[in-house]
């Protein structure tokens, strides 16, 4: 058991941290706030993401033939951790979910087209899984893709399609065989968002950001938008989804409200007064231990993946513990900070109003990307081999 990082790891961390300190300007911070409020990526932020792309960090752990440099996953983890810490709104989901799925299931042409463009930030995917009739239960999917000579015609609706308004493509799950049993008739399509017949409608969310509904009305796409084999989409998606649940960026999201609280209690004038209360100290110490467990779970998954093991339940444990910790931490913060916690306006509120936004958005972690209930069932069945009936 080795819980430490090598001097080379630490040097790499310092390199990224220095880069971000140098390049994340006040202007970019202002844009990030706007972006978090649902106004898309600002021009300075796009330039920053381009610069990050030039540094061969994105996709560094990929094979060289697809634009990576086969770097150690620990470096990838460090990169994600530092990026999350600096709150850069770079959607790493694409590098961790869609890109590996394309590497795993894509044609040579698809790999050559998409992977380098993902690295450069020219192609970004919104995730087209959930529908009004079902989220985690992908088997209940209703969006249809009907094949004809020229390609496929897609009709249906997606919901909770975050970043659909700013993505170049949608990673779309659609039913290609309505007669097959639930999971077996689904395929994945890589569809450009500017294809005629696609409409995006915003759903404004509590923290002040947005997600979307996406409507598909007789959307015609060529055959080469199909990823992997027809009707095998659920299996491609499931493997990518499992990988997407690991990684530092998620654990960083889970612990960020606690880190904000700790900073407030140590650095803010009022926070320092509150921190003198032994009851507050006890609560914060408890949260610290729980946050540490979230981090160790991530390190464990990473250790397993580096050894070539496929974690049977550990990633699901991360996805139960982390989000529920995040919710507990926001609740504790609210009861420690009281009146100051509710202040929303960034000029008046501690930490620019991050606390109430964290409070109302923490719930997304416990259902986004698979609810904690679905995760618990997966742990019990896959990890502990408990019977289905």
């Amino acid at each position: 058991m080795d819980f430490g990082f090598t001097p080379e790891n630490e040097a790499f961390r310092a390199e990224i941290r220095d880069f971000l300190n140098e390049h994340v300007s006040d202007g970019i911070r202002q844009e990030m706030k706007q972006s978090a409020a649902g106004h898309g990526l600002g021009p300075l932020t796009k330039v920053l993401i381009g610069k990050i792309g030039d540094r061969d960090w994105i996709g560094m752990s990929w094979p060289e033939e697809y634009g990576g440099r086969a770097a150690d996953l620990i470096d990838q983890y460090i990169f994600e951790e530092e990026l999350a810490r600096a709150r850069v709104p770079l959607n790493l989901g694409n590098f961790i979910e869609q890109a590996p799925a394309i590497m795993f299931a894509g044609t040579e042409a698809q790999k050559k087209y998409f992977l380098p463009r993902i690295v450069k930030g020219e192609v970004t995917f919104a995730l087209g899984y959930s529908e009004p009739s079902g989220g985690t239960d992908l088997g209940s999917l209703k969006t249809r893709a009907v094949e004809d000579e020229d390609g496929f015609v897609i009709n249906g609706q997606k919901v909770f399609t975050t970043r659909a308004e700013q993505s170049s493509h949608i990673y779309l799950m659609a039913r290609t065989d309505p007669d097959a049993p639930k999971h077996k008739g689904i395929s994945i399509f890589l569809v450009p968002m500017d294809t005629p017949g696609i409409t995006v409608r915003p759903l404004w969310t509590l923290p002040g950001g947005r997600t979307n509904e996406v409507f598909f009305e007789d959307v015609r796409v060529p055959k080469d938008t199909l990823l992997g084999e027809r009707n095998k989409g659920w299996y491609i998606g499931a493997s990518a989804l499992n990988l997407g649940r690991a990684g530092a960026r998620r654990y960083c999201t889970y612990v960020s409200p606690f880190e904000d609280l700790l900073r407030f209690l140590k650095e803010d004038e009022i926070g320092r007064e509150l921190a003198k209360d032994p009851v507050v100290q006890d609560k914060v110490a408890q949260l610290y231990c729980e946050a540490r467990v979230a981090k160790l779970f991530t390190m464990r998954s990473l250790s397993m993946v580096r050894r070539g093991e496929n974690p049977p339940y550990q990633i699901s444990s991360e996805k139960v513990w982390g989000p529920e910790f995040q919710v507990r931490a926001t609740e504790a913060a609210s009861q420690i900070m009281g009146d100051y916690h509710q202040l929303w306006d960034e000029d008046q509120a501690p930490n620019g109003g991050s606390f109430p936004r964290q409070y109302v958005s923490a719930m997304v972690s416990t259902f986004g990307h698979g609810s904690t209930q679905v995760m618990r069932t997966a742990i019990a069945r896959r990890g502990l081999d408990l019977p289905r009936e």
Binding site: F3, D282, E290, R300, Q373, L386, P387
Partner: protein
Amino acid sequence: MDILLDEDEQVIQEAVRHYFEAECDTDRVRRIEDGGELLDTEMWQQLAELGWLGLALPAMQGGSEAPFTQLCLLFEEAGRALAPVPLHPHTVASLTLADAVAVGKGGPLAERLLSEAAAGESLLTWAWNERLPGTGPEAVTMSAEPDGNGWRLNGTKRFVEAFEGADYCLVAVRSNPSGGPEEGMSLLLVDTKAEGVAGVAQRAMGGDTQSEVAFDNVHVDGDALVGAVDAGWELARPMLERAVVLNCALVVGATRRAAERAFAYAKERVAFGHPIGSFQAIQHLCADMITWVDGAELLTREAAWHIALGMDAALPVAAAKAFTNERCQMVIREANQIHGGYAQVKEFDQQLWYRRAAAWSMRLGTSLDHRKTVARALELG
């Protein structure tokens, strides 16, 4: 960074688990407890022969000098098996003698006892707690006044493990009452048969034997000193940190086994025509149980790793103990719930793990105590 077990660690874990699975069934655990015996002497001798009493002790005294992380794995397995042997007090005391010997402050008595401890010829224990137990230096108030070539001890220690069978007890005393709690403390080796030493057994929930030990004008010679006079806290602090982590390892091992027994039971037990393990209400309990015990195990191993590398371990040790105490009890309560009525029945084995893991997690600092240490390390207030 690779927080999974390496090859050496897997070897020791498998060897110890194999031994206990072969030798330590619950009949054996019950026989010692029901007979009111202090320890399974045959098992103790076997542990000595296998080299596990000296696993992390210096080679000079017959030990194997294994890193503390491997010792932690040995304790996880001992906890898993509920091994009826006083591994914890014996190891805590002998590691501290080894610390003192390593810096040339052990003395001939400590060196001799260390060799005998590794060979299983002497049983060692340690006495720290008094009226108000804790893992801070203020817990020690018992006095030791200069007396001839040594000291004269007066006071009472409580919750001293395995005292009745021990040959020597490493006792923390106030050799100089002036100054702060970290100053004026010394560690002295006391012959448990010495004149003026009187132990009264304290029966506890976990079934192990503890004692309240009164020291009434007990004289010890100068060679009883372990470490430097009045500088006992320098040795006591790492002693307590190791004691806490090894305690966590016992609790984690016992808790994991209790959880596994509940998972197995959930697959067998049928209600309403289905194994109860097929009900989501039970599945979700099980999912939480494995997640929580894994968390306690990782925190414990991370703390052990800090100690093994000689790093400052105060924060990870306190975090491990604060979390393990409470979460492992939660795990075993859920395991009890899955067993239903049988969990309360003495002849059913579940209670063996429940009582011990719960009792162990009440020792060496409560979650409240350790969270104070965490808060201090986070520089709050």
